[in-house]
Amino acid sequence: MADAHDGPDNGENAGTAVARQDDHDAPAPAVAVVRADRIPNPGFPPERLRVTDLDPKKAKQAERTISVLFFLSVIGSVLAVAAYILFPIEEGDPSTIRLNNMLIGVGITLGLLGIGIGAVHWSKALMHGHEEVEQRHPTRGSDESRERAVEIFREANAESGFTRRSLVRNSLIGALVATPIPAIALFRDLAPAEDPVALLKQTMWETGTRLARDPSGTPIKASEVTIGSAFHVIPEGLAELESHRLEEKAKAAVLLMRLPVDELNEREDRADWSYDGIVAYSKICTHVGCPVALYEQQTHHLLCPCHQSQFDVANHCEVIFGPAARPLPQLPITVDEEGYLVAKSDFTEPVGPSFWERQL
């Protein structure tokens, strides 16, 4: 409203709905055309009184309801304490956690909901319920208060000497600029110390690393992998790692499967990457890195549970469905002289999802 701001007399206007409604019909300044067909402000519908306004008995009833709700809240709070004492969590018995949590939760819920529902019901049913319109106050302050504000700044400047004593001011600015520096130095070390790209490109697998069972870490003999088997594999030695065990496992986890040899379609260049129908593939999905391990031994399909990418184990884990962009990396394997399955080398491409610096 362009016509309703300046001057202290505005305050009188604020909050009077009637005056406001008249304003609507007056042409606003800078509006050249007064529209004749303007829809008149219908005003407010007639106020409907609540049953508690009309019937004192209902009001009394509402009062009782509200006080019952508040009493329920008290009971709930007491219940929560009683449950905490009477149904403690006993070590070695997880079922006590359930009972303890549930009773404390019910008590506290009753305590809070009783207050909340009671308060809302109070305000809705019993508190003064007349409809009112309160107009917005103008945003601009009075000229007086604006002048006074500028004056306060001037006075403060004069008293503190902020502009006069430039040495103090500049050293303060310098000190303020320097305070975030420790944070930069500290948080900088949250980034990987080593080049993360190099870490993404290699795993724990090396030439001759034995394939071992997850989680025991016992090596696997080729003769133990019966047709149709699926072994969840970690590199031998991973189970004994003292640091970064999970990081290494997240990259090196492998699924070992044995297919009938005649059902395995192998490319020329990878013909010696398997052993007698035993193949090993990275378990980390090339989409966003979920563990792909839902192996169907008859269809030879591998399903990723996160986004339903499907890989065909019989055809070098090529993607046959879903959002994965690349086949799962294959781990070249063979057997050592004792009959244990060993890796011929590390994966020949980075495992897991794409990253900016990935070249393959």
């Binding site: 359930r98 809302v120 049913a125 133990e224 088997s229 699926a230 839902l294 031994q297 269809t299």
Partner: protein
């Protein structure tokens, strides 16, 4: 009765020092001989009984299974060969009602069991007689008295990706699914691990030892018997059922409260 002298009484009641030994020898010979006789008879009976069992199984197989698996269980286009499938595979497939299959589909469904346990045992004996295969495990491997914590870890690594971490089951590709494991007989859990029915991979005793399988069974029985510590598990289906619940009832409740807050009292 005339009183006798102590000396004569002793003589009359006295046994030869060898009598005890002789009695022992006679006794041992008698019991041992009887036992040997009895056991030989029993063995002969068992052999006769198992021959009869296999014979009966063969008849049941010819009547109920041969149309798909072939008269000699050699397999046909409709069903795989059962030579080398072993007694355990028969016990699992027929004992859970999966076989005989009602119709070909993405996977055999669990149905009411069609045979008595004796008939299943007979067919299992007949299939086991064809070629060596996995046998029904000893009771101690399906007792469910192992270490539930070890079983839980093995289950999470080997089974949970398909069967869900709480054994509630899950979807696979093209209409197949991994069934829920609640209420499944331990011998069938064991049988599924060893034989790898349908699309389930095989977890032979060289991968998971019988003791480890018992640990897994222990874990499954444990989570079946102990309610979820976290409260109402909504079928243990994870984000699907929990998300549906909170979107419908949680947000629905919030909408109802806001309507109540802003509505004018009567």
């Amino acid at each position: 009765m005339a009183p006798t002298s102590p000396a004569s009484a002793r003589r009359a009641g006295r046994r030869s020092p060898l009598a005890t030994t002789a009695l022992l020898v006679v006794g041992l010979l008698a019991t041992g001989g009887a036992y040997a006789l009895a056991t030989t008879t029993a063995t002969a009976e068992t052999t006769a009984a198992s021959a009869q069992l296999i014979d009966e199984g063969g008849k049941l197989f010819a009547a109920n299974c041969a149309s798909c698996h072939g008269l000699d269980a050699e397999g046909t286009a409709a069903g795989p060969t059962l030579i080398g499938a072993g007694a355990l595979a028969v016990d699992f497939q027929v004992g859970t009602g999966r076989m005989p299959m009602a119709a070909s589909g993405p996977q055999a469904e669990v149905k009411p069991v069609q045979f008595t346990q004796e008939q299943i045992d007979a067919m299992a004996a007949w299939v086991a007689d064809l070629a060596p295969g996995p046998a029904v495990p000893a009771d101690r491997y399906i007792a469910g008295d192992g270490d539930a914590a070890i079983g839980a870890e093995l289950f999470r690594i080997n089974c949970a990706m398909c069967h869900n971490v709480a054994g509630a089951g899950g979807a696979l590709t093209e209409g197949k699914w991994a069934p829920g494991l609640a209420g499944v007989d331990p011998v069938h859990i064991y049988g599924a691990m060893v034989t790898g029915p349908q699309n389930m991979p095989v977890f032979s005793d060289l991968n998971l030892t019988p003791e480890e399988k018992n640990d897994i069974i222990t874990y499954l029985l444990y989570i079946e018997e102990n309610p979820s510590v976290g409260g109402w598990d909504l079928g243990s289906l994870g984000p699907v059922s929990e998300g549906l619940f909170i979107w419908i009832f949680g947000l629905g409740g919030l909408v109802a409260v806001t309507i109540w807050l802003t509505a004018k009292s009567n």
